[in-house]
């Protein structure tokens, strides 16, 4: 599965500048994804996971901007590439699929044309060849009767079908990295499972790495080999996905794991209430000093309120950002 590092992010900082103030919307973001690997980024709304993805593909727009750090893709720093060079990467080497399959397709263009456009745009194919390749791409995401479906408009397809089309578009050029931002949130559960399975299989076949972004820890741990948990603009823990359930190290991760409803041992203890994490995520302009989780943390001590913890490597691999981790 693993190979040379495909994507390395080092100490990435993203600033929000509203004219009056500059605040760090995300900082100290470091992770690496190997070729063909599956990596998950988990966190609540507003924790900075989506803007991290946008930074990777060079699509942060004011008031957000990259304020520091390095993004290396296939050994090359890409955070300062020209707009034209970044555009060559996007869709071609790095692809992305979105949360909303309902609105991510152009309503006045047949889906086959939208797939074919990728081959014309990035591979310099003629429209004739591209249309042929579009049928194959649609067949590869297991859309039945692809040669007829290419002529359909998005409104003629169901949500699941549209997300399949999105996957076909994203994987059309054989990218090295697929960023999936909440790819199944808008779909119902059974379709969700099919889409995830499809995405995982296709990427495994083609050696495409996946960066999966979600608020659903269970889903991410199921799909990804390694998981990073983000809280208030920082990665608080990064682990192999099996370990993160078994022995979560950061109090926030513990809270997340405890708040998942599960079959089995915990349920056997009786009708206990699901645990919750007290409080809410602080607003981006009111991040507390020290550890950003300290106001909601049961284990917080004085040092947590004054000093931001550094990352501590763990024996089993990965790291945690906490003064008190076990």
């Amino acid at each position: 599965m693993t190979g040379s590092p495909l994507l390395e992010v080092e100490d990435l900082r993203i600033d929000l500048d509203d004219g009056a103030r500059r605040v760090a919307a995300a900082e100290g973001i470091s992770f690496r994804i190997d070729g063909g690997e599956t990596f998950g980024l988990v966190g609540e709304s507003g924790c900075g996971k989506s803007i991290t993805a946008l930074a990777l593909i060079g699509l942060l727009r004011p008031p957000l901007s990259i304020a520091g750090g390095v993004i290396r893709f296939q050994g090359q720093e890409i955070q300062h590439l020209s707009a034209a060079r970044q555009r060559q990467l996007r869709g071609n080497r790095i692809a992305m699929i979105f949360q909303e399959p309902m609105t991510a397709l152009n309503p006045v263009s047949p889906v086959g044309r939208q797939i074919a456009e990728m081959f014309v745009l990035h591979k310099g194919k003629s429209w004739r060849e591209a249309n042929q390749l579009a049928v194959e791409a649609l067949a590869s995401v297991r859309v039945p009767a692809p040669e007829r479906r290419v002529k359909d408009y998005p409104h003629q397809l169901s949500g699941g079908m549209r997300q399949r089309v999105m996957i076909a578009i994203a994987l059309a050029c054989g990218p090295d990295l697929l960023i999936a931002d909440e790819p199944t949130t808008a779909l119902d559960v059974t379709v969700q499972a099919e889409i995830i399975e499809l995405m995982r299989n296709l990427c495994a076949e083609r050696g495409t790495a996946i960066l999966m972004i979600s608020h659903d820890l269970g889903l991410v741990a199921n799909v990804c080999r390694r998981v990073a948990v983000m809280y208030a603009g920082r990665i608080v823990e990064e682990r192999g996905s099996a370990d993160i359930f078994r022995v979560p190290s950061h109090p926030y991760t513990q809270g997340l794991v405890d708040s998942l409803p599960r079959l089995g041992s915990r349920a056997a203890l009786g009708r206990t209430r699901l645990k919750e994490i007290a409080g809410v995520v602080p607003a981006i302009t009111r991040f507390p000093d020290g550890c950003r989780f300290n106001p909601r943390c049961a284990q917080a001590t004085d040092i947590c309120r004054t000093t931001a913890p550094q990352t501590d490597g763990l024996e089993a691999g990965g790291f945690v950002r906490c003064h008190h981790h076990a």
Binding site: Q88, R90, M96, L105, N106, V108, S109, E117
Partner: protein
């Protein structure tokens, strides 16, 4: 079926005007310019002279047919120029925003502040009369509504998921504007264009009436009206028939525009079904 009536009648009137203009050499009884014969001067409408004759003895029926060529050429071509300018400016302004948007907005406001006929008059005064200057004058002065519309559409479409998805997939700005934005705003642009054609036909008539349009003796509906002015009491057919031609063409274009709006506007479409 009421909604379709304006489309059918408007389309038929406009098509009739186009057919008449195209087939004028075969439909006309006489040459509109050369066949002057003072022996036949100012004949009222009859079986021989369907629409009567003018002071030089030219057949008004033939002149109205040939006049359609000028009026429709001016209407269609000048509105096409307007649409292209309006869409190019409005679409790019709405998509890019920033200083370019400010520049386009200022330009649009300027165009809206000056009555377009006055502006066209000024251009005609510089270029001199004639068909080409007529096309340029009317083509450069009526793009502000199309521009406003294209800008507003681009602003709202820019935030659509598929436009953002196209950005993520590596589409360039030009490709996004042409493949994602333009097809989605085409409906209202076509409607405005059709209505604009009607007003361009009227403007041509007005400018020709003022002697700035097509040079006599070649006929255009406006210049025919202008020539007929002095004989309106003695030979009313000289003004009635070109006037009727203008009226029917503009009516047809407006009905067509209304009809197109009804079928292209998704909201009215869903109301009907």
């Amino acid at each position: 079926m009421k909604l379709r009536a304006n489309l059918v009648i408007g389309g038929a009137l406009f098509a009739l005007a186009i057919v008449v203009g195209l087939l004028a050499p075969w439909l006309a009884h006489t040459d509109p310019v050369m066949d002057a014969n003072l022996m036949n001067a100012e004949e009222p409408p009859s079986w021989t002279w369907w629409f009567g004759t003018d002071a030089q003895g030219r057949d008004i029926y033939s002149r109205v047919l040939y006049g359609a060529r000028v009026s429709l050429t001016v209407g269609i071509v000048s509105q096409l120029i307007n649409s292209v300018i309006g869409v190019a400016l409005g679409l790019s302004a709405g998509y890019f925003g920033g200083w370019w948007d400010d520049v386009v907005n200022a330009l649009t406001n300027l165009m809206l502040a000056i009555p377009s006929l006055i502006f066209a008059l000024a251009i005609m005064a510089v270029l001199g009369p004639g068909l080409t200057s007529l096309l340029i004058a009317l083509g450069l002065t009526n793009w502000s509504f199309t521009c406003r519309l294209a800008r507003a559409s681009a602003l709202s479409l820019r935030s659509q998921g598929y436009v953002q998805a196209a950005t993520v997939l590596g589409y360039g700005d030009i490709r996004i504007m042409i493949t994602q934005l333009l097809p989605n705003m085409l409906g209202p642009i076509v409607v405005i264009g059709t209505l604009g054609m009607g007003s361009a036909v009227l403007s041509e008539a007005a400018l020709s009436f003022l002697g700035l349009g097509v040079r006599p003796p070649f006929p255009s509906w406006g210049s025919m009206l202008s020539e007929a002015r002095e004989q309106i009491t003695t030979a009313p057919w000289l003004s009635i028939f070109p006037g009727l031609a203008i009226f029917l063409t503009v009516l047809g274009l407006n009905l067509l525009g209304d009809g197109l709006r009804d079928i292209l506007d998704p909201q009215s479409r869903s109301r009907r079904t």
